[in-house]
Symmetry: C2
Subunit: 384 residues, 2 copies
């Protein structure tokens, strides 16, 4: 599983002492080839962490040999010193592995505005390299956790004989285009960087970009896809893209399932929209409505809050043609009272809200969570 | 105080039985003239309550004789029956007062998607009319409360000899352009409808439109300004507009001070922005960041969350030129670590966050609240 499910990759995860509590905090993923193609997608936040600025440049070259990831510190808003620290991290990895620093991507997650303890991080790189293994994927996934309660991994195989695997972390500041969400995907398919990039952007647009736990866009989001070519398989684009999408969707669902303080996972289906953009805009507006998220927490099928959220968008619709279902019960018909809200059963963790805009044939699914007192406690007590 | 501070107005507030708990729920404000000029500003939510649709039309005529307001039900998303109910309410007021229904504005607040109990509301109108008094302003302000813990009134006088008074309600779904926020302002100045409209839009743009408690735009927001001319004073525009702005700012500050579950009032000052629009966009983005709102609740001067919010905007700025102060301590300088965060004292209810964009000379102030477990409890347990 994880990043070592595909052939041609080794990984490790260790405790370098970056986290004061002694938990694992440093991961290394190495592409052993023969190919070292790569693509990446990064946060659209204009305040970008040093490792994001670095890795964007690395990925532009189309080749990545290793990815080093740390939890316990985001290295964001740390000024010129922060960028020097990222550079030194890449240099140390390059030195230990015998490659160029320009092929080493760096990712960090944790508190913003605090310098990394380089006296712990740099020695940790040697220790992690010594642990590299074709079975190290789980340990790498564990080492990138921050407030995650579980580590997240996924794998898909293509019929033509290749594998796509991956790991992810992210529990808060989770609204990708965005979240302090780190993802590394690996594949042993033999694929050019340009194709990797297209497949990755197609996949993230419809998976990570459609989860929105708390509306807060991170400074550190990074999704990398590395290809080793070790399977010897050159898949058709559609087959490859579908495998990448499946792994991304699986990881995205796991991120929502472990969001900070959440007790409900909310699947928002927007149907009969005029365009896919309209569907996404409406879905995201619903996903960011704190009042609705509180209502779902209280198992209250409060469809009025859904309509008030739809009403703030510029999507094509007529207010008196809107239908809304909660867990399959059409509690709102034609913009007004529909079926009896007492029929809605909201006891289970997954809640499905369907908004029918009656304006066309496009649709989209956005995932979010409820808003809970636990989210408030976690984010008022814990600096992250 | 309240809507009867200005000469030429009577008001009343009674318990009509719309609220099941027996609290006051019906208010009437009557302009006794000699002039009956009016202007109004309404929610920009495209899903508009029936009374908003009605009152928008009434105000277009430039004359309003009476305003009837109920709490205990928003009459939003109630279909054609909801509009008939609003119409019947205006007709009953007209009948009781001996005016035309086309001069009666209607406003409602409470739960969305539930029809109003017209068997309670219509008889209540006669009862309220019987209580109309030049001292009824406080009772009217009390009758429009929903989750408000206190009623809100304000008054300002112009040196040339006129008065502007007002009342407001609103505690949740509070992000005007927007909130389930009802405001009635009255003045005894002798002013034309067109001037009232200009002064009211100027004032709301810089007051109610710049408070954002929970990012949730209501279906029912209504701000009305009625002029009786009873003072006989025809003020200069600037003097009049300043009095209207002062009353709006006072009421807006009271709304933030009583927001659902809040323990902190947060004043966000955006300075050195390239344009006022940029300053407002940045302020609103900070105001809607749930993670920052949680941090303020925990008295944690988490400036990284301020920067991550600024980074999501399209305003002009360079990330490495951003300065942020919390309660006067510049914890972020040049986009990185500034003064010691331990110096920040956040024990008091009011917290001031200053964001310096270093991009120009424009500025704006946006008000919001912290996000608390009490907000979650109130909005998961209470259908509103």
């Amino acid at each position: 599983m994880s990043v070592t499910a595909a052939k041609g990759f080794t990984a490790a995860g260790i405790a370098a002492g970056i986290k004061e509590n002694g938990n694992p905090d440093l991961a290394l993923v190495v592409n052993t080839g023969p190919r070292r193609a790569a693509a990446g997608v990064f946060t659209s936040n204009r305040v970008k962490a040093a490792p994001v600025l670095w890795s964007e440049q690395v990925v532009k070259g189309g080749e990545v040999t290793a990815v080093v990831l740390n939890s316990g510190g985001a290295n964001a808003c740390t000024g010129p010193k922060g960028f020097q620290d990222t550079h030194a991290t890449a240099e140390r990895v390059a030195e230990v592995l015998g490659h160029g620093a320009g092929e080493v991507a760096v990712a960090s997650t944790g508190l913003i505005g605090v310098p990394l303890p380089m006296d712990k991080l740099l020695p940790g790189i040697g220790a992690a390299a010594a642990e590299l293994s074709e079975h190290g994927g789980e340990k790498a996934a564990i080492a990138i956790k921050t407030t995650d309660s579980v580590h997240k991994t996924a794998v898909a195989t293509g019929p033509s004989g290749f594998t796509v695997g991956g790991m992810a972390k992210g529990a808060g500041m989770l609204a990708p285009g965005l979240a302090t969400m780190l993802v590394v995907l690996t594949t042993d398919a033999d694929v050019e960087p340009g194709t990797l990039d297209t497949a990755l952007r197609d996949a993230t647009r419809r998976t990570f970009d459609r989860i929105d736990s708390d509306g807060c866009m991170s400074t550190n989001d990074t999704v990398l896809l590395l290809a080793s070519g070790a399977s010897g398989t050159v898949p058709e684009y559609d087959e490859f893209a579908e495998a990448v999408r499946a792994v991304c969707a699986d990881l995205a669902r796991q991120l929502i399932g472990d969001a900070e303080g959440a007790s409900k996972d909310i699947r928002i289906e927007v149907v009969h929209a005029a365009t896919e953009e309209d569907a996404v805009e409406v879905g995201r507006s619903i996903a960011r409505n704190n009042l609705l998220k509180c209502a779902v927490h209280g198992e209250d099928p409060n469809w009025g809050r859904v309509l008030s959220a739809i009403g703030t968008t510029s999507a094509a619709f007529e207010p008196d043609a809107l239908d809304v279902a909660i867990n399959g019960v059409w509690v709102c018909r034609a913009g007004s009272v529909g079926e009896d809200r007492e029929l809605v059963d909201m006891r289970f963790r997954e809640v499905v809200i369907t908004a029918d805009l009656a304006a066309g044939d496009a649709s989209a699914v956005i995932w979010t969570n409820d808003l809970t007192a636990d989210y408030v406690h976690e984010n008022s007590a814990y600096s992250s």
